[in-house]
Symmetry: none
Subunit: 109 residues, 2 copies
């Protein structure tokens, strides 16, 4: 029964964030969390499509099902675990690196 809420995925959310960043610093702070989620979702989607894999194919490599992959590529999903990220990375012959960078998104004043 949905008519227009479909396909609102990482690409649309990316455009939204890109439009918001650069407007105001306050907005950027608010969007920070979503930006981080979006990065992960977009990275997974990019890596998967570059590997020419469908969600179901990647799911089989990872050892899960297609719906799980779709959930991970959802930009609004912020429940990522490092275990799952590493499983995804391993299936795509990558490794996950975690870095603690100084300051959340600071522009030099």
């Amino acid at each position: 029964m949905r008519s227009q809420k479909t396909q609102k995925r990482t690409s649309d959310a990316l455009a939204l964030v890109e439009a918001l960043t650069g407007k105001s610093q306050e907005m950027a702070d608010l969007v920070e969390q979503e930006q981080a989620n979006l990065d992960i979702a977009r990275k997974i989607c990019e890596l998967r499509t570059k590997a020419k894999l469908s969600q179901e194919e990647l799911a089989r490599k990872v050892g899960t099902t297609q719906s799980v992959i779709s959930r991970l590529e959802d930009a609004d999903y912020d429940g990522h675990s490092l275990q799952m990220l590493r499983r995804i990375a391993a299936a795509l012959e990558k490794r996950v690196e975690i870095r603690f960078l100084p300051g959340p998104k600071l522009q030099p004043a």
Copy 2:
């Protein structure tokens, strides 16, 4: 755990960070080299001790208890979630960056 969407514990840390703008870019490279290949537990412990905080003090900043911090700094514990990592990072005036690097485990000479 509460959803990150409705959580606002990091607002004080964000406010602190806003006063520290200006020296993020140069420190990024140092942090990258120092922490590129360290384990998550060691990173957290290192950041905390460098900030001269006890586990209980960090726990209060993060919004949890000391035992949780101790668990996160346990090297055998690999069940980290990105939400918790971001909370830790925010309390330490840092941000978490996730990168997918090529190769399973490349050892720099």
